[in-house]
Amino acid sequence: MGDSQYSFSLTTFSPSGKLVQIEHALTAVGSGQTSLGIKAANGVVIATEKKLPSILVDETSVQKIQTLTPNIGVVYSGMGPDFRVLVRKSRKQAQQYYRLYKETIPVTQLVRETAAVMQEFTQSGGVRPFGVSLLIAGYDDNGPQLYQVDPSGSYFSWKASAMGKNVSNAKTFLEKRYTEDMELDDAIHTAILTLKEGYEGQISANNIEIGIIRSDREFKVLSPSEIKDFLEEVE
């Protein structure tokens, strides 16, 4: 269709008003492994599938959920290498904020600045958009927060959201299960169940990753044995 003539330069609008490269980036995200996040009354949980290309890969070396600051964590769907670059930039921005104000960066500010970076790559010469959508989970003076950031640089605050391959089923499942006053442990169970819904194969403590943040404001990635405990509670 007419749009394909405008897909050579990402900085050119197509007649339908879209930036075709961003659409393609979203497709890349949509074919990535499922990830999701749920905001509970007293914390946030983010989780993702960790399907490795072969059983020979050392799964302890792969960490899809990363910490941006002690009280903010992030997970992605899409291209791993692009994610690593964004994590690096975000961590640096958080530290620059601290250097200036000697105060830890609020979640909304970090999300804004990360989104600004992603937007820059949709309006510069010689670069392409990032092929990842991020789910940023944090706990600061405004309580628990969950944000999604897209390749276009737009960001949204969610009570619960999913991204990647199984997004529509996962979101429907979350819509049914989500309640406003959910506690964090319930949210973790719901997250596991949602991942299980779309998982091809057998879910186990070694092929999913879960990160949580409670009111103690310390983001942590759960160890396989901790995940195992939650899995057993769910079954």
């Binding site: 250097r99 200036l100 104000y101 000697k102 105060e103 609020p106 909304t108 500010q109 804004r112």
Partner: protein, 204 residues
């Protein structure tokens, strides 16, 4: 002649019970000549945060404009006022940026922080912060101010008594300094109100 003594200045801030006071002299001079007797050295950043800038008057004005600019952007982005401690860190960073061509100012920062806890601090012209629990001073009259404050200060003073103390400390100190004086300007800030008063001292 030192660049810090070109215009002449005196600024002092004191902590009281759930309140603080910040005061300055009103003289603007060009070395020995007095140019103005109503010069403003204490500026408002937001309702509960004030900064007094002693030293070179042009740098004081420019630095204040830069700080207000930064604070307004912060307010728009973060939808909240800056805490005094955060503001002090910002001033320190801004001053150090000009480490090898500094602003010739010594700021005195005073504000009510979380739970309306009074906060005061001062720093040198390149951003070395000095926090204090009782009082901070700066300017050409600083040595006299140190002496006056040390002897007159008591902790946990009520607003009226704090006002008296800071006024007396300021007026007696600037009398010993030829480059500052021509009256005083005192701001007393409590969680509920702000009182501004102009003092008449020895007009010389």
């Amino acid at each position: 002649m030192s660049i810090f003594e070109y215009n002449g200045s005196a600024v002092v801030a004191m902590v009281g019970k759930n309140c603080f006071a910040i005061a300055s002299d009103r003289r603007l001079g060009v070395q020995l000549q007095t140019i103005a007797t109503d010069f403003q050295r204490v500026f408002k950043i937001h309702d509960k945060l004030y900064i007094g800038l002693s030293g070179l008057a042009t740098d004081a004005q420019t630095l204040y404009q830069r700080l207000v600019f930064r604070h307004k952007l912060y307010q728009l982005r973060e939808e909240r006022d800056m805490k005094p401690q955060t503001f002090a860190s910002l001033v320190s960073a801004l001053l150090y940026e000009k480490r090898f061509g500094p602003y010739f100012c010594q700021p005195v920062i005073a504000g009510l922080g979380e739970d309306n806890e009074p906060f005061i601090c001062t720093m040198d012209c390149i951003g070395a912060k000095e926090l204090a629990k009782d009082f901070v001073v700066s300017g050409t009259a600083s040595e006299s101010l140190y002496g006056a404050c040390e002897s007159m200060y008591k902790p946990n003073m009520e607003p009226e008594e704090l006002f008296e103390t800071i006024s007396q400390a300021l007026l007696s100190s600037v009398d010993r300094d030829c480059l500052s004086g021509w009256g005083g300007y005192v701001l007393l800030v409590t969680p509920t109100e702000v009182q501004e008063r102009v003092l008449k001292g020895r007009m010389d």
